[in-house]
């Protein structure tokens, strides 16, 4: 008898994915007009920007993976639990307040806001003690998103025009950097978050099966879930603090990657990290060339491409499921 347990994603897939990321990276270094000395443009503008794209792409999509496991819902994103609303509210109000904000402040504000939102949403769901934990979390998260957005609007309403411009620009997603400050401050939270997740991909698998099953396999479910939620908040919050609430990455990348590597988080997490890098690099390069020499905000590009693409995927997936 042939041993028939289906083989894992082949090494060819990983090589292809890695090559695409490298290729897209090189492309992004060359994309767009170069008016200043090329060396300066590459080293001070393009390369840090590329690093920022690598970090934020992987952070957002891995954060999406975590929430999809915990909520047992493939449509969950870093924003479902109000992570971006929290990060946006705190980081946004820092911008509105007009205080001088170093980059580290934005990273910290984003992370703090995201953590705060998660804790609030989680506490709400926990207190309500309804049977269906996942859906209570989702409802609390949606409420968080709406309330966060309106408070931010309230702040904007009472601030002057230049600040409103600044915050609206940030809300659209902003990858533009001069120098290395932004990417470098994002390195520690993203590396830390990735380390936590990569050692817990097995736990993500168990939690995705149901709390009871995970528990009987030796997983301390509550402890691990808190840690993973905090990690998701750290990854997405710090990223949102720096580049603004760029949508769709956390939803789209894991969804596409599931088609290639399946839903085993030991493979899905690294594949999503690389896929997230690829997507954000490509979207960022596109945002620079579409209306060159000006550039589009990456958030808009991402939503304009991501939305329809995702809809097509959903519809095709749906019809296949009906046939199967």
């Amino acid at each position: 008898m042939k041993s028939g347990i289906a083989s894992r994603p082949s090494s060819g897939f990983w090589i292809l994915l890695a090559l695409s990321v490298i290729l897209a990276g090189i492309l992004s270094l060359l994309a767009g007009p170069i008016e200043h000395p090329p060396e300066w443009v590459i080293m001070r503008l393009r390369l840090p920007r590329l690093v920022l794209a690598l970090l934020s792409g992987s952070a957002l999509s891995v954060s999406g993976c975590i929430l999809q496991s915990i909520l047992r819902n493939d449509l969950a994103t870093p924003y479902t639990l109000g992570i971006s609303a929290g990060a946006g509210l705190v980081a946004g109000s820092v911008i509105v307040s007009g205080l001088f904000i170093p980059v580290m402040g934005l990273v910290a504000a984003g992370t703090a806001g995201a953590l705060l939102a998660v804790i609030l949403v989680y506490a709400l769901a926990y207190r309500s003690r309804r049977g269906d934990y996942g859906s209570t979390l989702l409802l609390a998260g949606i409420t968080m998103n709406l309330v966060g957005a309106s408070i931010l609007l309230l702040f904007e309403y009472f601030s002057d025009a230049s600040r409103i411009m600044e915050i609206v620009r940030w809300m659209m997603g902003d990858m533009a950097v001069i120098g290395w400050k932004k990417p470098l401050f994002l390195v520690p939270p993203v590396i830390l978050g990735m380390l936590v997740v990569i050692t817990r991909t097995g736990v993500l698998n168990q939690i995705s099966q149901g709390d009871d099953i995970a528990h009987t396999r030796g997983v301390s479910v509550n402890k691990e879930r808190n840690l993973l939620l905090a990690t998701a908040a750290l990854l997405a919050g710090s990223t949102v603090g720096v580049v603004g609430p760029v949508g769709f990455v956390g939803l789209m990348v894991p969804h596409i990657m599931r088609r290639f590597v399946g839903s085993d988080y030991r493979y899905l997490v690294p594949a999503s990290a690389m896929g997230g890098m690829l997507l954000v690099i490509l979207a960022d390069s596109l945002s620079r060339v579409v209306i060159s020499p000006a550039e589009l905000p990456i958030g808009i590009v991402m939503s304009l491409i991501g939305g329809p693409f995702f809809l097509v995927l959903l519809l095709r997936g749906g019809s296949r499921k009906q046939r199967g």
Partner: protein, 259 residues
């Protein structure tokens, strides 16, 4: 040394007491049935042994070690559980799902070892789920899902297997195969505690039966001691006709017709 021993167990959720004063000893290789009406506390008994969100007092020990002396991981290598609550929407394939039962034997980001793959294959063949191996879990029927989860519970290589209504939503053939499998496991020395509503069929395979009613133990003994008109009618609060059928060596249990 008993595989499972429970003494003076009282358990519940917060101030709501569900079980009181339960005593039970099962020896290795025994198949013990848990019988009782809905809400009698069968699942709570499982959850106390597994320490899932239940407040309990009393002593529970597994293979001679008391629960409090075992780490989560040690416990996971001794006991596995087929719950009624699981995520039916899981997008993992059947073989991936079964392989997850190997979790207590590895750490962190570990790939499946050859031993893991062999164990999973063996468990899938035993549970008749080998042909489903590449299907996605969420697309399976209710009965198939339970069989797959049974396979993953077996892949955990437990000494004690806790099954919460494993036979529900299985057809005749799979029900029979499941009981035969439990018999086979028990010959290997694996102890089984199984709650079931298929009282009539289960009598053929159970070594002992604990009858639960309203959170306390009503009767304990071999199926022929316990499956009587008096005991079952009282426990299930309905007039039952109970008789042992010599041809099929099982019981006939039917509610009496009310005029």
């Amino acid at each position: 040394m008993p595989a499972l021993s429970i003494s003076n167990l009282s358990a519940g959720y917060g101030s709501n007491r569900v079980l009181s004063d339960i005593n039970l000893t099962i020896v290795p290789g025994e198949i013990c049935g848990l019988i009782g009406p809905n809400g009698a506390g069968k699942s709570t008994l499982f959850r106390s042994i597994l320490q899932i969100g239940v407040d309990f007092s009393g002593d529970i020990s597994i293979c001679g070690s008391s629960l409090s002396s075992l780490s989560n991981n040690q416990k996971a290598r001794l006991v596995s559980y087929l719950p009624q609550n699981f995520n039916p929407q899981s997008r993992l394939t059947v073989s991936e799902t079964v392989l997850l039962g190997r979790h207590p034997y590895r750490s962190g980001w570990a790939l499946d070892s050859v031993e893991d793959l062999e164990t999973a294959e063996k468990c899938m063949i035993e549970t008749d789920t080998w042909d489903l191996r590449d299907r996605v879990f969420s697309n399976l029927s209710g009965g198939e899902k339970r069989l797959v989860l049974l396979a993953s519970a077996l892949a955990q290589e437990p000494e004690l297997l806790l099954l919460d209504e494993p036979g529900s939503s299985l057809d005749f053939r799979h029900q029979l195969n499941m009981w035969l499998l439990l018999k086979k496991l028990s010959r290997r020395g694996i102890t089984v505690l199984v709650s079931t509503h298929e009282v009539a069929l289960s009598g053929r395979y159970l070594d002992s039966v604990l009858v639960l009613s309203k959170g306390s133990s009503m009767a304990f003994g071999s199926p022929s001691d316990v499956f009587t008109t008096e005991i079952l009618s009282e426990v299930f609060d309905v007039n039952l006709f109970v008789s042992h059928d010599r041809v099929t060596r099982s019981w006939v249990i039917v509610p009496e017709m009310k005029q």
